[in-house]
């Protein structure tokens, strides 16, 4: 019975989806794919996917046509780090599910199970063009009993900001570690100890890989880490899951490059204030950098050489870059501003758009589905009135997996309630 009704439902839904074909016509389309930028182009969407894209192409018969003449169309934006859907209000206001303290988990902690696709933050950011995001665990410091977070924060996942049930696209795309200054407090006070902990964990994981069976039979000494953590680390060792390392100082980045080489693991840098000083080495080691284009001050002794030119220098050297700046959880919508600022500092415009769309999708291994406007990919599309990086231009319509997003958020509702400054009714009665 249950199966039957479910099957019926699937059929109905499939039928509805199948019936709806949408064609966005007449726009300048920045595909961020091999076809580059197309003028007067048409993007055809059906079943949640991009079916076709081309210039001077007619909309299919029966398609809902969206006239986008004079508009700019881009892929949906991809926020490469943050705690979207894991925290509602940052401080003193209920749980922040992005981090945990305790001795049960470290490397295996998986925040995806806490993701709330109905969070108010989701709509606020998706109506401004953010369609995908990495949700990443973060260290939460110390609890009341003095227990500390771990050098390994755990696993990060890619989510979409759509309304549907299938909001988690891919789990465990990266493992977050806190290197350098960001890990010092969790490792007894020295960045050298941070590295020792990382090496110890990877060594144990290697040992577990080779002698796990013996351990299960009770013929091997106990491990410091739990089986869950050691299992999670297998995916790092195999190169399946990269280490996402929060690290800024050039010396620490050099250590990361060595470590990645030594263990044959992949790495991604988050922060990377001084990464530009090692641009060629990072390019050679194929280590991407998720950076903050506005971070130009020596906020600590780990970022004495922070530079506005970071994005341009790294990109020029062939390092894959993405942007996470300022408030990455409540305001990833500002990702276009960060890209624009990097552009003003010498990053080519096309590379800036890539850094907020396709590059993060590639970094997390989901570029087969998102990041560019290509036939076969999920239809994450944004229609803009002009240059999407420009501050006065806001997304006019957003599509996530082919669904046209209702362009409403709690903030637009608040705005509309207070917009008429002559309305003297109590606000609660203005509807």
């Amino acid at each position: 019975m249950k199966n039957l009704s479910l099957a019926l439902l699937v059929l109905i839904l499939a039928g509805i989806a199948h019936a709806e074909t949408t064609a966005i016509v007449g726009a300048t389309v920045h595909t961020v794919g091999p076809r580059g930028t197309l003028e007067n182009a048409t993007v055809v969407i059906a079943d949640g996917r991009i079916v076709a894209v081309g210039d001077n192409m007619k909309a299919p018969d029966g398609a809902t046509v969206i006239d986008a003449a004079g508009k700019i169309v881009t892929p949906g934006l991809f926020s490469p780090i943050g705690q979207l859907g894991l925290v509602e209000v940052g401080f003193s206001a209920g749980p922040d599910d992005s981090g945990q303290i305790g001795d049960q988990f470290t490397a295996s902690f998986d925040v995806a199970d806490a993701f709330n696709r109905r969070s108010t933050l989701i709509a606020i950011n998706r109506i401004e063009g953010v369609t995908r995001a990495l949700i990443s665990p973060s260290p939460v410091g110390m609890d009341d009993s003095g227990n500390l977070s771990h050098v390994f924060s755990g696993l990060a996942s890619v989510v979409n900001l759509g309304d549907g049930m299938a909001s988690i696209d891919r789990r465990a795309v990266a493992m977050v570690i806190n290197l350098g200054e960001s890990g010092v407090d969790y490792a007894g006070g020295s960045r050298a100890a941070v590295l020792m902990i990382v090496r110890q964990a990877l060594d144990e994981a290697q040992d577990y890989r080779d002698h796990g069976d013996a351990h299960e039979r009770g013929q091997h000494s106990d491990y410091k880490y739990s089986v869950a953590d050691l299992e999670a680390l297998q995916r790092v060792l195999s190169g399946d899951v990269p280490l996402l390392a929060d690290v800024n100082r050039a010396a620490d980045i050099e250590q990361l490059i060595s470590l990645a080489h030594e263990y044959g693991v992949r790495a991604i840098i988050a922060g990377g204030a001084e990464a530009w000083m090692l641009a060629d080495h990072l390019a050679a080691a194929n280590i991407p950098v998720i950076l903050a284009p506005t971070a130009n001050l020596p906020s600590s002794f780990d970022s004495l050489n922070a530079s506005m030119k970071s994005a341009a220098i790294l990109s020029q050297a062939g390092v894959k870059i993405a942007f996470a700046d300022g408030e990455v959880t409540h305001n990833p919508r500002n990702i276009t501003q960060w890209a624009g600022i990097a552009t003003a500092e010498g990053l080519p415009w096309d590379d800036a758009l890539r850094a907020i769309t396709l590059s993060p999708a590639e970094i997390y291994g989901v570029a087969d589905r998102v990041g560019s406007i290509e036939a076969g990919k999920d239809a994450d599309i944004v229609i803009w009135p002009g240059d999407p990086l420009e501050l006065t231009n806001y997304a006019e319509q957003v599509f996530i997996k082919g669904e046209s997003v209702e362009m409403v958020s709690r903030q637009t509702l608040l705005r509309d309630r207070y917009l008429d400054t002559d309305d003297k009714r109590p606000p609660a009665y203005r509807n």
Binding site: E88, V89, G90, F91, S92, A93, L121, T294, A295, N296, L297, P298, S299, S300, F301, L304, N305, A306, S307, M308, K309, G326, E327, H330, N331, R333, N334, T336, Q337, G340, I341, T343, A344, L389, E390, L391, T392, N393, Y394, Q411, L414, R415, D416, Y418, L419, T421, P427
Partner: protein, 454 residues
């Protein structure tokens, strides 16, 4: 119309007022010793000029002489002046940030540098932010590269009354006196809401609630009024003057209108209560800062002539910031109140123009047109007004301080960059000539010293 005429009339009045203030100042401890950089008579020509008075002039010139704006208009000439061709560029007054912690929470943000919050009692009106300012904060230089020519440095918001703020000229000096804006009144920081009640409540000390906050402010004002009354009585020969009290001196300064209140306050309902407290004790709130819900009480702000200093879009980092919307400043402006975009950040102080642009775009979506010539006032004239320095700075009018920014295009673009920044007529920053630009002691030997950071 002759634009030149419009701007000359009040110049002499401003100047004499300024000199008089400076004279009074000199007798005070920690008086301004700001001298400014060497300036030359300079004529900026052919620019799109946003005057800060609400006007936009095309193909206009600005003449700066003796550190002051000498003239603004079309087709100016000046013998012997350095000519700066600004055709295709935009020129605005220097940007003013009403809320900064540069120097008191400098970079690097080490514990040893954390000098912005005197978290030892809920009312610390006796402390002055200027005594914590570290002039070698590299953040002054990066703010300068963003066109910031003046800013108010405030104590933090842990306390109900956190102490005096100081307005600085953005020319890094050897000490804070070298940077103090001549003649500017002191500010006084007050804080509503979550911070004071959390900081003290968690120590089992008052205030632990918002009602505790309000009791705390009122007790402080009652003590201040009593001190003032005793002082005045003694002056008229009745009784002895009270023992000098630094805390009450600051509060009386507010009651006398000599010190301006800058009140950290997020929620509309709390701002409304603060306005009532001000009425009860007869002082004025110059500006609410971080006024995330100002859009809910625009009419009350207009009525009490209180500015709202706002971010473009910071929200949700704590409960009292949950109702932040991007149109906030535009709705406040539409209600006829004084809107300011402020930073509270060493990063966003570098692009207050961009933060303003985000509001302009959001406002346009709902039919509120904020043209550039109006928007620029949110980061120039209006902060100057809230700081009590509107008579001498904040607009491009003859006789005012020649604090001027030449932008590479419209400042309300993500690609906007300040190319030249003049402070009192002197070239303080030039994006195209690193040899002009300041490097603080701390930045020597780092990327910042070679222009990397800017």
């Amino acid at each position: 119309m002759n634009k030149n005429l419009v701007v000359i009339t009040t110049a002499v009045v401003f100047l004499s007022a300024c000199e008089q203030d400076s004279g009074d100042d000199a007798a005070q401890p920690f008086a301004s010793r700001y001298a400014g950089l060497d300036s030359k008579t300079t004529l900026i020509t052919g620019a799109t000029v946003l005057t800060g008075t609400g006007e936009r002039l095309e193909n206009a010139d600005i003449l700066m002489a003796d550190g002051k704006i000498a003239n603004v208009g079309v087709g100016l000439a000046a013998e012997g002046a350095d000519i700066v061709d600004a055709s295709g560029k935009w020129v605005t007054p220097g940007v003013i940030d009403v809320h900064s912690h540069l120097g008191v929470y400098p970079s690097p943000g080490t514990e040893s540098h954390s000098d912005g919050n005197e978290i030892t009692a809920p009312v610390t009106a006796q402390v002055w932010a200027e005594h914590s300012v570290w002039p070698h904060d590299p953040g002054f230089v990066t703010a300068l590269a963003g066109g910031v020519t003046s800013m108010q440095i405030l104590p933090g918001s842990a306390n109900l009354i956190g102490g005096r703020g100081v307005t600085l000229k953005n020319v890094p000096g050897r000490n804070v006196m070298d940077m103090k804006f001549p003649g500017a009144p002191h500010g006084m920081k007050m804080a509503c809401g979550e911070n004071p009640k959390r900081v003290y409540g968690s120590q089992g000390q008052a205030p632990g609630t918002r009602m505790g906050n309000v009791a705390g402010y009122r007790e402080a004002w009652i003590a201040a009024a009593e001190y003032r009354d005793q002082m005045e009585a003694a002056e008229s020969g009745q009784g002895e003057p009270p023992t000098r009290d630094l805390k009450l001196e600051t509060l009386v300064g507010v009651l006398n209108g000599e010190i301006l209140v800058h009140n950290h306050c997020y929620r509309g309902d709390e701002m409304s209560i603060m306005i009532d407290i001000a009425k009860e004790f007869g002082y004025k709130i110059s500006a609410f800062h971080h006024a995330v819900e100002a859009y809910k009480i625009g009419d009350l702000l207009a009525e009490s002539d209180t500015c709202a200093a706002m971010w473009a879009d910071w929200w949700g980092f704590k409960m009292e910031a949950y109702d932040g919307i991007r149109e906030n400043a535009a709705i406040v402006d539409k209600a006829g109140a004084c809107a300011i975009i402020h930073s509270d950040s060493e990063i966003s102080i570098q692009r207050l123009n961009q933060e303003t642009a985000k509001v302009m775009g959001a406002a346009a979506r709902v039919g509120i047109d904020i043209p550039p010539e109006h928007a620029i006032q949110w980061i120039t004239k209006n902060p100057a007004k809230s700081l009590g320095i509107e008579d001498v700075v904040g607009t491009l009018e003859s006789g005012k301080m020649a604090d001027v920014v030449v932008w590479n295009g419209t400042p309300f673009s993500v690609y906007a960059q300040a190319e030249q920044v003049y402070i009192d007529g002197a070239l303080a920053y030039d994006r195209n000539d690193p040899s002009v630009n300041p490097v603080t002691d701390f930045s020597l030997g780092t990327a910042a010293a070679t222009g990397g950071a800017q």
